[in-house]
Structure formats: structure tokens, C-alpha cells
């Protein structure tokens, strides 16, 4: 099977100190005190995996375990501190609810803005406009500013947009949770359809049942470390067992 996503020894270190030294005064004070180097925060530690064409992979893990971070690295939004990431084919990342939406613009304007952000061309989007609107079922709200949308409505619009491009790789970060049952079903069907066209899917969800249902493989991240990679049912089971006895931010000793 051909690999479409390859993640090799990826580490992501956030230097939390760096983030806060954003004024020269602070920099000078820190430099004088000699504590420019803060304890770095490791969000991903030496993570490696390969995903083949047509696979559907779920990523599970507690809050703050690095799931969104790895997706952002794969999407090219973050550059990993160490390691290499390669992707092949058109990628449609749905990282966060309405990531590219401008609340002041109407749904119609946002469809155009967002498509442009995804790097699509105008002709293509205009030809697909009706399809997007139909899929999201938001026709009556086309000229309403998106800031007045409910979160589910925004999710509908976002998913409709991402799926219309027929991406070869679809990356979804737990944004479907807010959609109602009917829409979730529709999204599930759409994902099935994409998969039958041999699209690759990478899905982050706290809904273990969704992962079990839609993925054939799962990856479990724990505090930035890949602890398990394999059959979705087995990984989900192991993860569920672990969550029964542990919480996200407890110290290493008890885990």
C-alpha cells in the first residue's frame, strides 16, 4: 500500500518562555537575570507513523495529549521542531470549527473566502456553490453574518466546504460533535463516499464510538508520546480501560 502520510520521529517543543517574551523590556530583564532558557514544553515526543492510501485512522488521547498538534503539523500549519512529515495529494484540513470564517461576513461571502483560503479557484467554487449550499442545508441563512450562526450551523458550512473538493486526505479535528444527529449521519455517509473513492481519513474524536465505527485503525497519544497504534477496536478498548482509572493531567508516577 502506498503511503500518503508519513510522520518520522516528529517532536514538537513549545518554548513557553519564548511565547511570553514578546517585548524588548521583558527580554532585557530576563537576559539580565540570566533565565532566558525556560523549561521547554514537549507537546509531541518522537512520534512516527505511516498512513497508507485509503486508510481511515482515528487519533485518541486525553486533553492536551497532542492530537491537534500532530494534525496541525501534518497540515503544514505548524513546523515540527524535529522530524519529518511528508504528505501526498490534496489535503483538506478541518482543524477547528469555522477556522477560516470571518464572523462579520455572510455565509455566502464566507464560502468564497474559505474556499480561497483552501487554495481553490473561483471557477471551481462557483460551479460547486449550489452543492455546498445544499449539503449544508443553510440556504435560508445564506445572507446572514456567520457570527450569528449557531456552532452546529458553522460546522455544517465548514464540513460542506471541505468535502466538496473531494480531498485525497481529509483531516477532521472533532468538529462534527456539534452537528445534530441528522447532520452527523450525513457527514458519516459523505465520509464513507470519500473513502470508497480511496480517500485517506484522519480523525480526532473524543467520541470513542465514532472512532470505532468509522476507523479501521487508531493511534493513541499520551502526553505527546505514541503509546499504541493498531486495530481501532483494540486501541479504543485499551484507551477506554486506561481512562477509567486515570485523568489527563495526573503525574506520571500514578499512570
Amino acid at each position: 500500500m502506498e503511503n500518503v502520510i508519513s510522520v518520522e520521529n516528529v517532536s514538537m517543543v513549545f518554548n513557553l518562555a519564548n511565547e511570553r517574551i514578546d517585548s524588548i523590556k521583558e527580554y532585557i530583564i530576563r537576559a539580565l537575570k540570566g533565565n532566558l532558557n525556560y523549561e521547554p514544553f514537549v507537546a509531541l515526543k518522537d512520534v512516527s507513523f505511516q498512513i497508507g492510501r485509503g486508510e481511515s485512522v482515528g487519533i485518541v488521547g486525553a486533553n492536551g495529549s497532542g492530537k491537534s498538534t500532530i494534525l496541525k503539523c501534518i497540515s503544514g500549519i505548524y513546523k515540527p521542531t524535529r522530524g519529518k512529515i511528508r504528505t501526498k495529494g490534496l489535503l483538506a484540513p478541518l482543524i477547528e470549527l469555522g477556522a477560516g470564517f470571518d464572523g462579520d461576513l455572510t455565509a455566502r461571502e464566507n464560502i468564497y473566502l474559505n474556499s480561497a483560503i483552501m487554495g481553490l479557484n473561483q471557477k471551481f467554487v462557483e460551479s460547486k456553490f449550489e452543492e455546498i449550499v445544499d449539503f449544508s442545508e443553510l440556504r435560508p441563512f445564506l445572507d446572514v453574518a456567520v457570527k450569528n450562526f449557531s456552532s452546529g450551523m458553522a460546522a455544517r458550512l465548514g464540513f460542506a466546504l471541505a468535502s466538496v473538493v473531494n480531498p485525497e486526505i481529509l483531516i477532521v479535528d472533532e468538529i462534527l460533535g456539534v452537528g445534530d444527529a441528522a447532520f452527523q449521519k450525513k457527514c458519516g455517509e459523505k465520509m464513507e463516499q470519500l473513502r470508497s473513492n480511496n480517500a485517506t481519513m484522519l480523525l480526532v474524536s473524543h467520541d470513542i464510538n465514532q472512532v470505532k465505527a468509522q476507523c479501521d485503525r487508531a493511534i493513541w497519544l499520551k502526553k505527546g508520546v505514541l503509546v499504541m497504534d493498531g486495530n481501532a477496536l483494540e486501541v479504543c478498548e485499551a484507551y477506554e480501560n486506561w481512562t477509567k482509572n486515570h485523568s489527563a493531567f495526573e503525574s506520571e508516577a500514578s499512570s
Binding site: D22, S75, I77, P93, G119, N121
Partner: protein, 262 residues
Amino acid sequence: MINSLYTYFRGLVKYRWLLRQLIARDNKVKYKRSLLGYAWSILNPLLMMSVMTAVFSGMFRFDIPNFPIYFICGNLIFSFFQESTTMSMGSIISNAGLLKKVYIPKYIMPLSKTMSSFVNLWYSLVALFLILIVTRTRFQWTLLLIPLPLLYLFFFSFGIGLLLCVLATFFRDALYLYNVFITALMYLTPIFYPISAVPDVIKKIIYWNPLYYFVLMLRQLVLDGTLPTLKLHLVCISFVVISLTVGLTVFYKNQTKFFLYI
């Protein structure tokens, strides 16, 4: 380096639609709650010019024939530089939310700011032509060459904007320092005084100010009706090349670290 820059900017073709939308949005936001809207792009230089003409014909007197035109030429150039670089500078910070959630080539942000200022500059040219008519200044054929200094100015400002953008993203203080700097720069650009009126020491500094040469070229085309010398072109082109090279290199080398600071 050149090669990687080439592949990098090939994205421009792919993202040109986004660029267009961002420019349109900038201009829409700018005049969102104002009655006159775009007319301000024309009114603003006109009003500035009236105030300055009143001040300088009443209080101070420089020996400048056709002061209104002289002033507006300098003002157009300087205002564009100020607006575009200031907006570019904050463009990564103000789009932090977007840049942390979706992938867009980062240079799109400073570029769209520079371009939306450039659109504004063309509106302001209407003001220049209105004053030419009102003051009954002769329309020189060299007016046709106005786009040339403006293009130099555009690329020069884009380069500087990229550099400042990197600086501000890593150090927010730069935004405030730049405000001070730009005020100093304004006085060191002969916008409302002739270069002959300043002492030699200051003159030496002004000769290092790139804006001086862009202003000079525009005035030659509009006021004097003379063709800029080859030397003046070379000076302008050198500034453009230096600014773009430094700006692009610094931006390209640092842009992957932006997300750690926004």
C-alpha cells in the same frame, strides 16, 4: 535560495483569489462605518494639502512654486509608505487566529496589506489631478510615467513591510518604536520644505532616505515635466533590490517560527 523562493511564490498564482478577497475586505473594513467611504481616499490628501498650504503660505514661507502640487506629491508617497509598512508590520499578529488554524502562505498577509494600500494610493491620485486642474497647472506628458515611481515605491515598501513584520511578530515593542521612527522619517523627507532649505548636515541624512528619491522622481514627472535621469532610476532600483532581498530573505527564514510567537 532563489529556487526555493521561486517555489514559494508560485503559490501566488494559487492564492491570487484569496489575495483579491483580502484586499477587498481591507478596504471595506476601513471605511465600514463612514458616510463618505472611499471618497476619503481622495478627500484626505485634499484636506491635508489645504491645511498645509494655509500654514505655509501664512506662517512660514519656503520658496516653492506651486506649493499644493509640491506638497501633495510628497504626501502621497509618504502616506503610502507609512500606511503600507505599518499595516504589514502587524499583519501576522492580527491574523494569528487564522494562521494557527489553517495553512496559508504567510507572506499573503503583508502582501495583501501592501496591495490594499496601493489601491488606496491610486484613488489618491484623483486628488492630485483635481489639484492640477484647480491650480491650472500644465498637464505634462510625463504624467503618463507616474506609474513608474509608484511601482518602485510599492516594491520598496513591500520589502520593508516584510522585514518589519518579522520584527514585530517576535517583538511587539517594535510596533511602538516604529511609530516614533516614522515621525522622524516624515521630517527627514522633503514633503513640505525644499531640500535647499535644510542645513548641510541634515541634507547628508536626507540623501540616505530612499523616500526622498521616490518623491523627487514623482515631482519631476508632475511638476517639472522632465524625464528622470538614468542615475535617479538606478538609485531607486538599488533601494528596491536591497529592500526586497533583505525583506524576502529574513521573512522566508523566520516564517516557520511565527506560530510559536502568535
